[in-house]
Structure formats: C-alpha cells, structure tokens
Amino acid sequence: MRRLLPVTLCCSFLLAGCATPENQGDPLEGLNRQVYRFNSAVDKAALKPLAQGYAAVVPRPARTGVHNFFNNIGDIFVSLNNLLQGHPDQTASDLGRIVINSTVGVVGLVDVASKVGLEKHDADFGQTLGKWGLGSGPYLVLPFFGSTTLRDSSDIVANIALYQHISPEASTRDKINPVRVLDARAQLLGVDSLLESSGPDEYAFVRSTYLQGRQNKIIGQVEPAPLEDDPGPTPEAPASEVTP
C-alpha cells in the first residue's frame, strides 16, 4: 500500500483535469457503460440471488455478527482516516471501538462499543484525499467493484492491502472474501429496489447518486442550487390532480 498510494495520487492529479461539467465528470462513459452492463448481469445472475439465499438461510443474529466482524476490521481504516482528517477525538473513539469489540465483543462479532456510546464513524481514504483538496478524478465503473472515482479507488486498493496483511495465507482469504462480498451485497437488499425508479437511463441515475453521495460525505450536505427551470410550488387543484 505504501508503494501504491503515491501512484494513485499521481494518476489522480493527472486525470483530474479530464473531469469536466460537460461530461458530468465521466470522460470514460463509453467504457464505463459496458462495465456497468457486465456488473448488472453478474449481479442479476449470481450476486443478488446468492445474497438473497444468504439472507434467507442464515438467521439475522448470525448475519449481524458477520457484518459486525467486517465492520470491526473496517474500523482500522476509519480510525486512521479520522486522524488524517484531523479528528483525533474520533480516532480515539474508533480505537476504543476496535479494542472493546475485538475483546469483549468476541473478535468483533458483537458491536459492544456502540452499546456503550462509542458510535461507528464513516471515514475512508477517498474522503481524506477529498478533504485535503484533491479532486475526484474521472468517474469509474470497475468490474465487480462497481462505481468509484479514480480518487476513491484508493479505498479498494487499501482494503485489498489490509486483508492481505491481516491474513497472509491466500487460503484463509479465499474463505473470508466470499462472505465479505455476500455481507456487503445483502446489506443492499431492499434498498436496491430504488433502482426501479431510475427512469430511462439507469447508468446515469446510478452515476448521479454515487457522485452526490460522495460529495455529501466530503464537503457535507450540499443544498442543490435553485434550478432556473423551477416553476415553484404547484397551486392547489391543478389539472394533473383530476385523476391519478
């Protein structure tokens, strides 16, 4: 990771210039759309059914335990990034979470820390770089990993490095990673039906929600600029209300 991060950084600087408002920060749209189609097909054929099966077969407390286990490992980077973002108080709380959950919480299976008031935070490398002023770079859709930007892909790299560090034997990782993917996908069950409201262009809808969500995490809630085409509130009993 020590070697990869500077590379990612340099690439981000180089490519940040490609993202313009005209192409919605998506200069690689043609390629991205193809990967998006591939990912959707994989999800529909394998990932979603597997996640549904997992949710149906494994009882909720066990699934919560699995989710907590991965969250606990994730807290390592949360604490580091909170430090890098200048929130030492949150870092302390995150470290407290790791210590409590790894011991009292039985290797992270029970989130005891949340119950004693140490709440889970959300911080990652993409956010840190963003808060340091680095632009997102182009929007990317990676095979299997899905929506990201060049800057935010630093998290994917960092997480691969982290799991390699935690379990150096590939055989152990091969057992852990599928469960990790299942857990991540199962978390989205239900919420993913929002995609049915994506309107005519699902790809553009997903891109917009991803980029909005990241922006919200990095510079805080952005009040959308008042739109010039806004007709304002509809007066009572307009024509459209006659019949649904």
Binding site: Q24, S193, F205, T209, G213, T234
Partner: protein, 203 residues
Amino acid sequence: MLNTQYMTRLLAGAACLVSVAAYAHPAEDLVKTTTQDVLTILKRDNKPGNEKLVRDQVTAKLLPYFDFTRMTALVVGKNWRSATPAQQASLTKEFKTLMIQTYSNVLTSTKVDNITVKPVQDPDTSTDVMVKTVVNRSGAAAIPVDYHMASNGSTWKVYDVIAEGRSIVTAQRSSYSQVVTQSGIDGLIKELASKNQQPQAKP
C-alpha cells in the same frame, strides 16, 4: 401556603415546557404524523402476500403531500416550458406512477423500526423548508432521509427527497436528460409509459 405557591410555580413551569415541546414547524408536524401513519400501516399489514393492500394504503396516505408536477418539471429541466400542457400532464402522470411503485416497493421490502423527525431549522415564516428524518432499520445502518418541502399557500408538499445526501430529483434529471435530448418530450413520455407497463419485479 408555601406548598401551594410551590405547586403553582411547578405547574406554570410545566405548562411552559409543554408549550415549548408542542411547538413545531407545520411541515415538521406533517412529516411526523404522516410517517407515523405509514409506519402503523406497515407494522400492521406488511406481510407476504399483502403487498397490494399495503401499497394502496400507503399511497393514499402519501399522495396528497407530494407535488408531482413540480418534481416532474425539475426532472425534465429546460424542456419543461416548451412542452404543451397535455404533454406536461402525461409526463407528470408517468413520473408519478414510477415514483409510487418504487417508493412502495422500498417500503414493503425494508424492515423499518422507527423514523425520527428532526426539528426544522428554517424560520417559521419560511415557505420552503428541509425536514430531516432518520430511518432506523433493525440490523442495518440507519438512513438519513430529508424532505424538501414548500407551501403553496394552503398545503405543504414534498418536491424533492434526499436520501443520504442524494437528491432523487437531481439523479432523475441526469437519467432523463439524454432521452430528452435524443428523442424529445414525446420520446420521453413513450419511454416512461413502456417502463411503467412492465410487470413489476418481485422485490
């Protein structure tokens, strides 16, 4: 004597507290009662095989408080003004169907524990406010959902929903823009109508 005086003060104090607690922005009150009603319906009737009943009840509850015409106008963007009133009406109708289908699908397939409505920060005189809520789910992360609402003089209505900082209107706008550019308003109406007629995917 001392005791009655003390009691009077205590009562006066309590009355003050109650009036402070009871005061809330009208939009906030509306969101509070409506989300409570929806949750009650979900908790009472949301069982497998019961989806249609739940959907109808939830829709009836929510429909009066959404400004679909304004939402559609915001989604379509600059081409809205060039559309005829008939086109605007059919666009609104298709958009409304799409939103209702999605929203009720999300509601019936998600286990919601409760919804916290936060106090509105805007001044009381404001006719355009953001009502922030947090949807607490059992066994999954809570989702902040904000409702952008405006008053048309008599009713408060939602014209944008922002989930975890993602505005549905902004996302839809980006989804519609290419179709409008390529095939115009009529092309968009056709596209939406055909999408709405597709059999609904089982959640």
